[in-house]
Symmetry: C3
Subunit: 316 residues, 3 copies
Amino acid sequence: MRNFISVNDVNNISELIQKAFEHKKSPYSNKSLGTNKTLGLIFLNPSLRTRLSTQKAAQNLGMNVIVMNMDKDGWALETQDGIVMNQNTVEHIKEAAAVMGQYCDIIGVRSFPKLIDKEEDYSGDFFKKFVKYSNVPIVSLESSTLHPLQSFADVLTIEETKTKPRPKVVLTWAPHIKALPQAVPNSFAQWMNAYDVEFVITHPKGYELSKEFSGKASIEYNQDAALNGADYVYVKNWSSFEDYGKVLSMDSHWMMTNEKLKLTNNAKVMHCLPVRRGIELADEILDGPNSLVIPEAANRVWAAQAVLSEILKNNF
Amino acid sequence: MRNFISVNDVNNISELIQKAFEHKKSPYSNKSLGTNKTLGLIFLNPSLRTRLSTQKAAQNLGMNVIVMNMDKDGWALETQDGIVMNQNTVEHIKEAAAVMGQYCDIIGVRSFPKLIDKEEDYSGDFFKKFVKYSNVPIVSLESSTLHPLQSFADVLTIEETKTKPRPKVVLTWAPHIKALPQAVPNSFAQWMNAYDVEFVITHPKGYELSKEFSGKASIEYNQDAALNGADYVYVKNWSSFEDYGKVLSMDSHWMMTNEKLKLTNNAKVMHCLPVRRGIELADEILDGPNSLVIPEAANRVWAAQAVLSEILKNNF
Amino acid sequence: MRNFISVNDVNNISELIQKAFEHKKSPYSNKSLGTNKTLGLIFLNPSLRTRLSTQKAAQNLGMNVIVMNMDKDGWALETQDGIVMNQNTVEHIKEAAAVMGQYCDIIGVRSFPKLIDKEEDYSGDFFKKFVKYSNVPIVSLESSTLHPLQSFADVLTIEETKTKPRPKVVLTWAPHIKALPQAVPNSFAQWMNAYDVEFVITHPKGYELSKEFSGKASIEYNQDAALNGADYVYVKNWSSFEDYGKVLSMDSHWMMTNEKLKLTNNAKVMHCLPVRRGIELADEILDGPNSLVIPEAANRVWAAQAVLSEILKNNF
């Protein structure tokens, strides 16, 4: 593995899962692997879990970590080629990525979509250019369309809690007051499709994810029907892909509650966090015995550590 | 000691003082104590001394440090229970603290009061919840009502400079152009009451601190009378506790000057910094031989190092 | 060497160059030099290259690094003496620098000019006070007037690519949409004058740099004439020194292009970055074989490492 931008960068998911669990069991046994190696974490947007867990993972491997916040005014990157830079962008990605690649051995980058131009957001252009110009391995800390470190942690969480070989996993849309990216559900769908589960996606009409990522998943517009017999329910809001970036529904009936949990096979409930209580998920779920949200967040460390470890082993 | 939120968390102040002086004498002799331990520093408000000194202390102990600034737009924490999160708060403290507790072995948190609702600010709710949900030791980097790392450094500074067993220490209010929290004076009073000094507080009427913290201190409204024979003068502005958060006086006669110093027993002058020159303290004091403000700030490292060291020894 | 504020702090440039190349050849061979030493990096303004490269250099030397961003609202430093601080500044440099000096063994500081008051910007007052009050070695991360870590990296880049003992180096003004400081060109001129090259500065009339820094350089108002036979072209915008801080020209004929490159001796093209493509430099130059901008940025690490290493060796 050189880059970690999507599930397609992983040769063997089962192997990577096992490696992550080895790191979890013995966090500091690879501390010399990262000696004199620098991880740069570049945030074009806010971050809590990704920031802390990836930093922790790198330190467990003995790496140096340099964090750069570019989310504030005054360091907007230009990505278009051949442009005359007489507007707000202060540096072209060609130079910025190349320079960072000189200082860092591996670079993690977060860059959210603007949710205005679907084609631009879904082109993957930003990460392709970062890979091309930085000349070092690139780890996505969430792109316009995918959040693979989150999805890998989600897979770890299912793997270590599942009680049957092929559980039923339901990804359900939930309401929110803001228009959110599709990155987390896209990415979760992509990983579920690559992992061995029965996978169903449920959402109001108009919230269909890109087929590129939802792939072979069953789509069910009736949430109750979808939840029937579920072993895992993954709750997440996203804005429309079709009517790009729009909020088409705030229907509170889609909020996950204990009542709905009764329809499932005593399902475990997951969410990538941060979660809006009382909007996406009822307090009773988050505070109840079926919630996996905290161990799920904790697994972010081992997901990142397995990924960084593989990159270190294969590229240096 | 598990948490460090107030002086009440300290079993034995004299012992902790001695340990701090041992760290000061030999800063790096406990460098293996923090190996593979991560300190998270979470700032909901700006910080200079606390940020740098606590980071330095942790590094002296061999800890990894992860700093997270949550003071900017976009990561406001919800603390109320049972609320529907359809407003500005993006994450509930229940999740945020629990997640941070998964990534960090010890968490330092700074959260200033809003100075609007006295009951809310003085409830200690935020730190109680952080302790409860994070499940790891919590160190206050300044709360709504207290600043124990500052006060402990203040005690160290008095201890190493005092020329009599029981010096007279005067905490005096000083003018300022803004409404400031009562955290530093509350905390200083709390520690002076737990430490062996003659302790007097002086301020204009209406600036009485909460009895919870001022306790057995003598209150003297006449600053000149209070300063008489003082060995230490601790200068600080605060807004009214009674008329909560209000600025009742900007009377420049309360500024500490060399003229006032004559009333004292050649007192040493202290201030937690940052200080407004020419408002709280005259230049002649800060630039003169009686000022302890810089060694006082320097002692922040040893206070933090003693606290972190005790927590590491007792909880891991 | 104690401080690194300008080229005048360097005893022997040739020796420092050789040391930088030794670090470049063997980055981690001095890793014990910085053990238990803390570098504080204080940014009053944004930074990418300086932030990452100096952090990397310090980590290569085994130092701890603490980064403090003071560029946001709420921590404006007062530098004037004897002032009543009843306005926006929250802390005097006397206290801030002294306190940081207690926590850090070496301090790097970035403080841009406001470009309003020439005398204030060119007084060097801020850095003089930081040196005076911090009581520890100070490294400029770019001052109002100079950027010595950049210039030293520029010298390294010329030294390792030059094909004749005394190349012709042309510093050329280029257009920009904003008023930029003179720090980079001042500093480059100062270092070129101290280094053994044929040095020419070219710019529109009114853009003369301070003689204090341009010194013995030839000034040529005709860019084409200046470029004739150049081995290196250093491209940079700056605002007027005479008509202080003003943009007097946006003449796009001053942009460096392949056409202009024909006038030179197949010159290598340099720029400190960030660069505005299509304004300061044509894409064809930046994407072409003559550009040195990325190796130039890469050399920032070795410049910083040589400087920090010298300071560590000579002061501790």
